[in-house]
Amino acid sequence: MVSGELMPRAVVIGASAGAIDALKQIIPQLPHDLSIPVIIVVHLAARKESLLPQIFRPLTPIGIREPNDKEPVGAGIWFAPPDYHLLVEKDHTFSLSLDTPVKFSRPSIDVLFSAAAEAYGDGLLAVLLTGANDDGADGLRDVRQRAGRVIVQDPATAEASEMPKAGLRVATPIFTGSTSMIGAFLATLLQRAASDSRETS
């Protein structure tokens, strides 16, 4: 099997400026019987309320939640809660932290990506989308170092190109394209993951 086709054990996604529109192209395409976690960090202007699950729930039947601390990382879609960093421990539980913002962001994409790289190794697929800063680039470096795979949005198609550009400078992606193409790519890959895991379980 080509390495790009191996099924991941977890997907992490990071997006900043333009995130909502970008994710609207991706989330509805995810297989409805998603069998792995898809963990997402979105930068939003300082906010206390959880808006993201409400925005995306109507677009997919997949369960969408914001995790509590030490909650097991199960299959489904997870958003980092507002104003906390979201991390994954080696035992595949979530951890939250109030540590100082990284690159002015909390939640930070780097923090999630690096921790997930540790926890899932080559089973991780990290997706970096539109954004106006370079959060996520350090994280992608860690993902590559742990033999995880990377997808970066084609900067030419991004509402803000700085973040995917910074990502491409540090990591060679297995796929790059517009958000709808990334959605289609994930749909195929994770569909297979869903059926494979049914066979093995």
Partner: protein, 271 residues
Amino acid sequence: MSSQDEIEIPHLLEAIYQEYHQDFRHYSMASLTRRVALARDQMGCQTTADLERLVSGNVDAFTRLFQFLTVQVSDMFRDPSFFRAFRQEIVPILSTYPSLKLWVAGCSTGEELYSYAIILREEGLLDRSILYATDISPEALRKAQAGVYSIDRVAAFSENHRLSGAKCSLSEYYTASHGLAVFDRSLRKNVVFSDHSLATDSVFAEMQVISCRNVLIYFDRTLQYHAVALMRDSLCRRGFLGLGTRESLAFTKSSSAFKEFSPAERWYQKW
């Protein structure tokens, strides 16, 4: 974490525990690893083993490292709906007690403590209350004891105070001078500040309320279990435990001693 760190970080934590009796061995590894890496960079060390050598027998270096390992972030009336639930649902029950003990565990620089003191004052209970404010960070405790915050933060504090169901303006409780808000010393008349670790110290006393917010997130599940058991044993029957908005007893084994009191706000009651 490099494979080197996988060995060296536990080694460092063990050495710290042996020499300085601060127990970080059961902290959440994912975030602790980041903080160790930051300390390493800022303290000019190449490896975690170098860092361990630096702090060994060097209290000043350890004090610096300690500041990286603990996270001092707090706000007054953080998550106003949590404090509104305290005011509206718990205070009426507390007012039936002749005297009250409330413990803010992991009080950091004091914002949470003053939030309770202000609510108890507004609800007429402060004079018959004793508040315990504890933390492992001596520096944070000093700031908590001083009760002085940058005036820039006060607008957010005031808004949170209002949203928590305040009876008057927050400005009743502080005086502004030279860019600082100095909180009224009468608020801490009945406050006992002390150094206490949820990891290594013992049960505190018969509390009616324990508030431990955004501290358990730094612990692994083993230490969470220990800390929750310690707090359970420090509470009187029907006493209340308040956690941070993203913390839950659902993932610790000691949850059976508690029932949910105000689940959305993470208030529990000892059963």
